[in-house]
């Protein structure tokens, strides 16, 4: 059972307080987009064994959505940051690179 730090209320929250929301930093494709783009947005999700960026909601706490960088294999957490970021926060990227020198990047 994970512990993730909520960047809004500052609580180190138990997984039971959190609701998962899948992959972070998706770009929404609406009307006018191609079938391929829409399909990728709607269905194609990364499922890496390793560094992953994901959405979590502090559902039984402050109610805010935040993002987390986590290794899906070891459950190491590189950091959490507010959802209002279109791409991983530079501090987080630096933290991942420090721990995983061979990391290919978030996109």
């Amino acid at each position: 059972m994970l512990i993730l730090h909520c960047p809004y209320c500052g609580v180190d929250a138990e997984e039971s307080e959190l609701a998962p929301g899948g992959e972070a930093h998706l770009k929404r494709f609406g009307p006018g987009s191609s079938d391929e783009d829409f399909e990728a947005y709607m269905f194609a999700r990364k499922n890496p064994k390793g560094v992953h960026f994901e959405r979590w909601r502090h559902a039984y706490g402050c109610g805010k959505w935040f993002l987390a960088a986590r290794c899906t294999a070891t459950l190491e957490v590189f950091g959490t940051y507010k959802a209002q970021n279109p791409r991983p926060h530079p501090d987080i990227v630096a933290a991942v690179k420090a721990k995983r020198p061979g990391w290919e990047g978030w996109k």
Binding site: I3, P31, R57, A59, K64, W65, T74, L75, E76
Partner: protein
């Protein structure tokens, strides 16, 4: 035969005898006994029969690794099967029964299975699945049914209480032996918050039996001093009878405390489940001794050498009066010495090693005991208990060289570190060839949130079997006897023929023999995980604590490769089975899940409402009068509402306020229709879809003011929809100025419905509710009957209808005022079933009935509620996909049976032809179906391929027992198609 010695027993209190029963027979033991020591002390060697072959089985071990001594314990509502006798404390009046036999333990019909062992080879279940069907029905199923299951299922609800608790610490120590206590002292002295959990009632672990010296003191004295120091520290908490059941992500630990097990009926909870977050976990869980595989190693009287020593020294119980010790290591010689010290006879030590020497061996020889070096046991003699052993050369094929008479055999194949907790969360192991064990690899520990080690492993669990080695890590000197090297012995004798291997057991609880694992290897099983499942080795409730390493070695040998190349199976929590009661805690009965109540709940209950669960709410389904059937009550409620007036507690409806400069723009994205253009004071029915285009919620939206809207959601959907709104606002459109608040529980809502609804409200008074002042689909805020109220003119029934929201605290008073004002008009409360029938009569859809997560609004004839003007809304792009615009989609229609009967719910309309599975093709299904009291016949709604284009067609709906229901496609609105009744 086992017996109680007249002297000794460091854990028992002879001044406190305790009476108990085994299979109805009265026996007695002492305070401090386990059920196992008490049974052995009472001379009961045989405690059950085995699972598959029904062979007589006795106690093998003295702790959690015990595979055989699983008993039914207690009676009635306190009966529980499969209680491990070696870890259950004896208490006065304990009622125990043995398992897996019929009609009696001594005479058992199922024992015939033992003679038919060739019929039950490895993979028995898998192989029989391939037999013809008749063989299953007449041969295998009866056999499997008879032997399936371990123990009996309790028949009564558990009357005991269980609880859960939370703990937080810097260091959690799993195990209260000398290594655990030393680790706790280290952390405690540094001022860290420490929790020490020990699964038994006693501290000090094996050192209390095996002795030695620590830091210049006898081990027992050192333990006493360590405990005293730890108890004096405010930052240390010690809990015995508490097992670490599992180690999980990020330092999460589950502890299982047996609080009131030995005091049934007391006010204590029976078990307590601890949920602990630890900064660091110290695994000090000791080691588990391995049996040796020889023919007859499962006869009652054959025990682990360490266990024999425990029974003699801890409980003054002799497993026999004349012992044979069989070993491949020096530690078992301690058992010979303990037996001699207790005045028992040792008929010989059978040591598989050709030459071994050391102080322990010398001490045994010095007391006149013969050591048979390079020998093994060819076979144990005896039927229900040991009468002797046949010796052979270990290197040979089992040619008997001599016999030793004995009534107990103490075996030791060496010790395996209990690495379970290290492994639960990813700690890795390596094979130590010299020490003949898998040990923890300190370079690959389980890691925590920071990527660093979250566990440390110490003591015997770390593969350190000698006291000096264990204490060195803590900077403490220790003295223990020197020991010579262990030699691996996986089969005795090494080249045992079939006849012996068929009776050499690896897994006692699941009856898996050496021959089974070898057969699996011959049949092509190479992976240890596959072999485990095929043979069921290690899959019993003991999870292979005794059998895994031996089985692995046999498999590796059969495959001709080294043990580390085969690898271990995965260690999974719980370490030993824990009770469902502890896992459940207080979450049972009324506390299973929280119940949400409207302020009017008590009124409904007092009127005898029949309840229906709706999300976490319970809503009145109907209000049956005394002697009235539910169906009749529903019918009465509908007719009264349609003819006069009814009232409904609609407080459970979701009520979310959306406010801010961008609120209109936001709602235009959320709903399929335009909400930004809704004039203040007006109501509009809205639909919400997910990004995949499917309809997920509906409700009436009200424009409260220039910048605020009130969104009604379904009763079960309020929290989900509020979360959905927040998701988009926080994660996608975070620059939009919108605020949402879920006010569902802040308002009570009452629907007043029917031709007399206006008269009732006028009687309440204070507000102009006329058609002119408050037309259909409008809203007004003001005072009604003295209550602050929002009055919405909306209708889910097709009747003249008002929904009135008042503050929750005034909900009951308002409801009662409506009931009083309505009395002269014949008002009736109605429940959810009347609500459902009336909406179906009007052809209104219900989320969850007409929708199932694959239905788009266009399927439901709701195109009118989808804005053509908007460039975008959630779900719009998805609805443009070719599959969604396919004219062949199943669409909403009404259905009427030709004979007026009610269609069964959920039935399918068949089409011509069959599909690839030989099933009839289908072309539609029923989504809602009711008897309509208003129309006096059955009505239904359904989704049918091109349905709206096929009005008047008759479809076949096969039902139960070959019945074919014929129904005609009609308009889904069965009542007041022009909507005149609502708009008056």
């Amino acid at each position: 035969m086992s017996l109680r010695l007249t002297k000794g027993g460091r854990l028992i209190d002879r001044s406190k005898p305790l009476g108990f029963r085994f299979n109805g027979q009265p026996m007695h033991g002492f305070a401090g006994d386990t059920l196992a020591s008490a049974l052995l002390g009472a001379g009961q060697a045989m405690v059950g029969r085995s699972f598959k072959y029904h062979r007589p089985r006795g106690i093998v071990a003295s702790g959690v690794e015990e595979p055989n001594a699983l008993l039914g314990l207690g009676t009635g509502a306190r009966f529980e099967p499969d209680q491990r006798a070696t870890t259950t404390e004896l208490f006065e009046g304990a009622t125990t029964t043995s398992q897996n036999h019929w009609p009696s333990l001594k005479f058992d019909v199922g024992a015939i299975n033992d003679k038919l062992y060739r019929l039950f080879p490895a993979g028995f279940y898998y192989k029989t699945f391939m037999f013809p069907r008749f063989a299953w029905k007449h041969v295998f199923e009866p056999i499997v049914r008879q032997s399936a299951g371990l123990g009996e299922v309790p028949k009564d609800a558990d009357v005991d209480r269980y609880e859960q608790a939370y703990g937080y610490c810097d260091v959690l120590v799993a195990g209260g032996g000398v290594a655990g206590l030393a680790a706790a002292l280290e952390a405690g002295r540094k001022g860290q918050r420490v929790i020490v959990l020990e699964q038994t009632p006693h501290w000090g672990g094996r050192a209390m039996v095996d002795g030695g010296q620590i830091d210049g003191h006898d081990a027992a004295d050192w333990v006493a001093a360590a405990l005293a120091e730890l108890k004096a520290m405010a930052n240390v908490s010690l809990r015995n009878r508490t097992m670490v059941s599992g180690v999980f992500d990020h330092g999460y630990v589950i502890g299982y405390q047996r609080v009131g097990d030995a005091e049934p009926g007391s006010d204590k909870p029976r078990h307590r489940l601890w949920r602990i977050r630890a900064g660091q976990i110290v695994v000090a869980s000791g080691a588990i001794e391995r049996p040796i595989s020889f023919a007859g190693n499962d006869l009652p009287g054959v025990m682990l050498a360490g266990a024999v020593r425990d029974y003699i020294m801890n409980w003054a119980v002799a497993p026999g009066q004349r012992l044979v010790v069989v070993t491949n290591n020096d530690d078992a010689y301690r058992t010979a010495l303990a037996a001699l010290d207790a005045g028992l006879e040792v008929a010989g030590v059978v040591d598989a090693r050709e030459a071994a020497s050391g102080p322990l061996i010398d001490a045994v020889k010095a007391r006149g005991v013969r050591v048979y070096e390079g020998h093994g046991i060819a076979k144990v003699k005896g039927r229900a208990e040991v009468t002797g052993v046949e010796l052979c050369r270990q290197a040979g094929e089992g040619t008997v060289v001599m016999e030793l008479a004995c009534d107990a055999v103490a075996m030791s194949g060496g010790w395996s570190p209990a690495v379970h907790l290290w492994s639960h969360c990813g700690g890795k192991l390596f094979w130590d060839e010299a020490a003949v064990m898998f040990r923890p690899d300190h370079a690959r520990p389980p890691t925590g949130a920071d990527g660093e080690a979250m566990a440390r492993i110490v003591g015997a669990a770390d593969g350190k079997l000698r006291l000096c080695e264990i204490m060195e890590e803590f900077g403490l000197g220790a003295v223990a006897d020197e020991e010579s090297a262990i030699e691996p012995v996986w089969l005795m004798p090494a080249r045992a023929p079939d006849a012996l291997r068929f009776k050499a057991f690896l897994d006692y609880q699941n009856d898996v023999k050496v021959s089974d694992v070898q057969l699996a290897a011959r049949e092509g099983y190479e992976s240890v995980e596959h072999t485990k499942r095929y043979t069921t080795l290690g899959m019993a409730t003991d999870q292979g604590k005794l059998s895994n390493i031996n089985g692995l070695a046999i498999l590796s040998d059969a495959l001709g490769r080294p043990i580390p190349a085969t690898g271990t199976t995965t260690f999974r929590p719980p370490y030993t089975p824990i009770s469902f009661g502890a896992i459940t805690g207080e979450a049972r009965g009324e506390l299973f899940q929280p119940l949400r109540r409207t302020p009017i709940q008590g009124w409904h209950a007092a009127r005898g409402a029949h309840w229906e669960p709706v999300g976490q709410w319970r809503r009145p389904y109907c209000y049956p009068r005394s002697g009235e059937a539910h169906g009749d009550a529903v019918k009465r409620e509908i007719l009264t509402t349609r003819e006069k007036v009814g009232m409904l507690d609609a407080s459970t409806l979701g009520k979310i306020v959306v406010k801010g400069p961008d609120a209109g723009r936001f709602l235009d994205m959320l709903y399929t229709n335009l909400m930004s253009t809704l004039p203040v004071g007006k109501c509009r029915y809205g639909l919400m879809c997910n990004e995949n285009g499917f309809l997920m919620d509906d409700g009436v939206v009200v424009r409260l003011s220039e910048d605020s809207w009130l969104c009604h959601t379904t009763s079960g959907g309020a929290d989900r929809i509020h979360g959905w709104m927040e998701d988009w606002l926080q994660c996608e459109w975070w620059d939009w100025k919108v605020y949402t608040a879920n006010l569902t529980e802040q308002f009570a809502q009452v629907a007043v419905v029917g031709p007399k609804a206006r008269a009732v409200l006028e009687k309440l008074g204070g507000m102009d509710v006329s058609k002119e002042a408050l037309p259909f689909m409008t809203y007004v805020e003001g005072e009604l009957g003295g209550f602050r109220a929002r009055v919405f003119r909306i209708s889910f029934s097709g009747e003249l209808s008002y929904e009135i929201a008042v503050p929750t605290s005034e909900g009951l008073a308002f409801w009662e005022a409506v009931a009083e004002a309505g009395a002269e008009f014949g008002i009736t409360p109605y429940g959810t079933e009347a609500l459902h029938v009336m909406r179906a009569e009007k052809g209104f859809i219900m989320i969850g009935d007409e929708t199932d997560g694959t239905v788009i609004p266009q399927d439901l004839g709701l195109g009118w509620a989808i804005s053509k003007k908007k460039e975008d809304y959630l779900g719009k792009r998805a609805q443009q996909r070719s599959y969604m615009t396919d004219p062949d989609r199943w669409k909403l229609v009404g259905l009427e049976t030709l004979d007026g009967s009610v269609l069964p719910d959920g039935v399918y309309a068949v089409d011509a032809g069959h599909n690839a599975n030989g099933q009839r093709n289908v072309q539609g299904r029923v989504t809602s179906t009711y008897f309509s009291p208003t129309l006096g016949k059955g009505i239904a709604m359904g989704l049918v391929r091109r349905g709206p284009d096929r009005m008047g067609e008759v479809l076949d709906f096969p039902g139960d027992n070959g019945a074919i229901h014929k129904a005609r496609i009609v308009d889904p609105c069965f009542y007041d198609k022009e909507g005149e009744k609502a708009n008056v």
